[in-house]
């Protein structure tokens, strides 16, 4: 059992004082940014990248993973009490959980979300520990053609799943891919799309784009809508201890949600949104009192929250074993690996086992910390929601500017930040998802590298992608993800 010994070594790192310290910092920060509207884990990790350069990568990633998981927990608190989903995967929680809160059962909703997240997070981390070594084994046999096809699959599923429509997702992805092309081509040394600006030869920094889209775009959007509508925070009422009946109604949805969420996250299938919707529908069908759904049913919070968290853990499977990010936060984490000169993928398990297994072990620890932080302290976190919006967004932009300027000490970066922010604002207004752009920006250069490697091996023969069975299968699935929904719509129209 190679995995077991690796995991045990990992725990010796995660449970050492330093490991515990950075995990705690991570989950604390993660919960904080998860609770605060307008700022999430992807943005936070992006802003921390320049600051963590000097930190040992193992501890940096333990902290990042804590932020990632913490953001999930914190996000559900905001969704339940404020009815503003921090991300698309907590839409369901925002609806059903908020209805529970309005009926005076906010405390139970928070409790079932937190415990469900813990159960799902732990089960999914266990699945990650068991599954990762097998995928690593498989991935070692992949050549450039397989990797390229795998990336194409990730591109299409991410674009197809997120956003208001498929061409909108693709537009976002292509925009990210285009930005990723700016700078010197590493293989030939040719400058591409640098517009004659020497500062652009190094390319556009991921941090600038991520912060521009997430922080500046979001702030501009919220500012333009601020006059309309007031946020209504529902105070927590009732005991945080769930009743016996609520436990009885929660535990099965937790398990079903976990089982549903993990595979969706682990496949490069575009994250946590679909499994939360599926879980909601399944729970509604299985419930003894389906009429409560839509009025605040605890199963409708327990299931989707578990699915959401399990999917979040699942996303780490392709990220760590294949170097394939399928969510915005995972994309930023990939950028963090690159910052340290590391390339996630099968070789990472061989080259830096203490980092990978330390990271995985810290997920178990972080989950437990989060349960403790969130259950009794929920009331404390809720106070953060009372921060006046002008101060909150002023602070977000202050730190956004700080993080971006310190990358290269360049005010041109600040200008690019603003321009990207404007693009992000337009994207928000027209329902273009932001995550595909970030994923395209980071994964694009890697995809180009694999494409050119594959074509170099085949001596320019394009058919290499369809003559190798695994690569062909991956491309077929990608094509199905693109064309399937269109055919489906046509068929429905025909009937």
């Amino acid at each position: 059992m190679e995995a077991l010994s690796g995991l045990l070594d990992g725990f010796s790192i995660a449970l050492a004082p330093q490991g515990l310290f950075w995990a705690f910092v991570g989950v604390l920060l993660g919960t904080l940014v998860g609770v605060l509207p307008g700022i999430g884990p992807a943005l936070t990790v992006a802003l921390l990248l320049p600051v963590t350069l000097k930190l040992d990568p193992t501890y940096a990633f333990i902290m990042f993973a804590g932020i990632y998981y913490g953001g999930m927990y914190g996000g559900s608190t905001t969704a339940i009490l404020l009815n503003t989903p921090g991300e698309s995967s907590s839409i369901i929680t925002a609806v059903e959980g908020n209805l529970m809160a309005r009926r005076g059962r906010g405390a139970s909703a928070l409790a079932t979300a937190a415990i469900g997240s813990f159960v799902a997070g732990t089960l999914a981390t266990l699945a990650l520990s068991l599954l990762a070594p097998f995928i690593v084994e498989l991935a070692l046999s992949f050549g450039p053609a397989e990797y390229f096809s795998l990336m194409v699959l990730a591109f299409t599923t991410v674009s197809a799943v997120l956003g208001a429509s498929l061409p909108r997702g693709l537009a976002s992805l292509l925009f990210g891919l285009a930005l990723g092309l700016v700078g010197i081509d590493l293989q030939t040394g040719q400058a591409r799309f640098a517009l004659g600006l020497p500062q652009l030869l190094d390319g556009i920094d991921v941090v600038v784009v991520a912060v521009g889209l997430f922080a500046v775009g979001e702030t501009l959007y919220m500012a333009s809508r601020h006059r309309y509508g007031k946020d209504e925070i529902i105070p927590i009422s009732g005991s945080l201890m769930m009743t016996r009946q609520e436990w009885a109604r929660s535990w099965k949805p937790w398990l079903r949600g976990s089982a549903l969420g993990f595979p969706f996250g682990a496949l490069p299938a575009g994250g946590a949104e679909i499994p939360t919707f599926l879980s909601y529908m399944i729970e509604k069908r299985l419930a003894k009192r389906p009429e409560e759904f839509g009025k605040g049913a605890i199963e409708g919070v327990a299931g989707p929250e578990a699915a959401n968290n399990a999917a979040a853990a699942g996303v780490l499977v392709p990220l760590l074993t294949l170097g394939l990010p399928t969510s915005a936060t995972a994309a930023i984490m990939l950028a963090a690996f690159q910052q340290y000169g590391l390339q996630p993928g099968p070789l990472l398990f061989a080259n830096a086992p203490e980092l990978v297994w330390g990271l995985i072990a810290s997920l178990y620890v972080g989950n437990l910390m989060l349960l403790v932080l969130n259950l009794p302290l929920a009331g404390l976190w809720v106070r953060l929601l009372a921060i006046p919006r002008p101060l909150l967004y002023g602070g977000i932009l202050l730190f956004a500017g700080l993080g971006v300027y310190t990358l290269n000490n360049s005010t041109l970066d600040l200008l690019i930040l603003y321009l990207v922010g404007l693009v992000g604002f337009v994207m928000r207004c027209f329902g273009f998802p932001v995550a595909p752009a970030v994923i395209g920006l980071i994964l694009g250069p890697l995809a180009e590298q694999q494409l050119r490697r594959a074509l170099a091996i085949s001596q320019g023969d394009m058919s290499v992608f369809v003559t190798q069975p695994l690569s062909a299968a991956l491309l077929a699935i990608a094509a199905a993800a693109l064309i399937g929904p269109i055919l489906w719509r046509w068929r429905r129209r025909a009937v």
């Binding site: 503003t84 208001a164 909108r168």
Partner: protein, 163 residues
């Protein structure tokens, strides 16, 4: 980000056309630029042009798709969306552009405070003094943390004279 439920895509039809046009222009510009990337003979087949050309072509084709979608969309212009409140946008933009223009002249602390105040103004805050004080304290803490905690040098402006 909160995605909307099934149904019509958000945004007015005219705006959707504009976005599609902008993407098409970007794609065409990229095709033009790709053409100007020098290629040596040895890399001719798999050189630095292939991937950019694919992305550029993708942008143009996808822009057409977006335009068709906008044309077909029965979604009435801005039906469920409140109109954009432009003054707020202008305040926040002013803050960001001011920081980009002034950071290396008046230092991080003052330019970041200005950004904070202007952003708060964009969110309809009228407590100018309170915003200024909070922004100043935040910026000062960040500056101190970076300068002494991390050893990263940020332009101090007037503070440079003090240390």
């Amino acid at each position: 980000m909160s995605e909307r439920a099934e149904g019509g895509a958000p945004g007015s039809a005219l705006g959707s056309f504009a976005v599609a046009a902008a993407l098409a222009v970007l794609g065409l510009f990229m095709l033009w630029e790709t053409w100007s990337i020098p290629v040596s003979i040895s890399y001719a087949r798999i050189g630095p042009r292939v991937f950019p050309a694919l992305v550029a072509a993708g942008l143009v084709i996808n822009a057409l798709w977006l335009a068709i979608e906008a044309w077909r969309s029965s979604h009435p212009a801005g039906a469920d969306e409140p109109p954009i409140y432009w003054p707020a946008l202008a305040w926040v933009s002013a803050g960001l552009l001011a920081e980009a223009a002034l950071l290396e002249r008046i230092g991080f602390v003052l330019s970041a405070t200005l950004l904070f105040v202007l952003t708060a103004r964009g969110f309809a805050s009228t407590a100018l003094l309170r915003d200024g004080m909070i922004g100043l304290v935040l910026a000062l803490l960040a500056w101190l943390g970076f300068t002494y905690g991390l050893g990263l040098r940020l332009p101090g402006g007037p503070l440079d004279a003090l240390i």
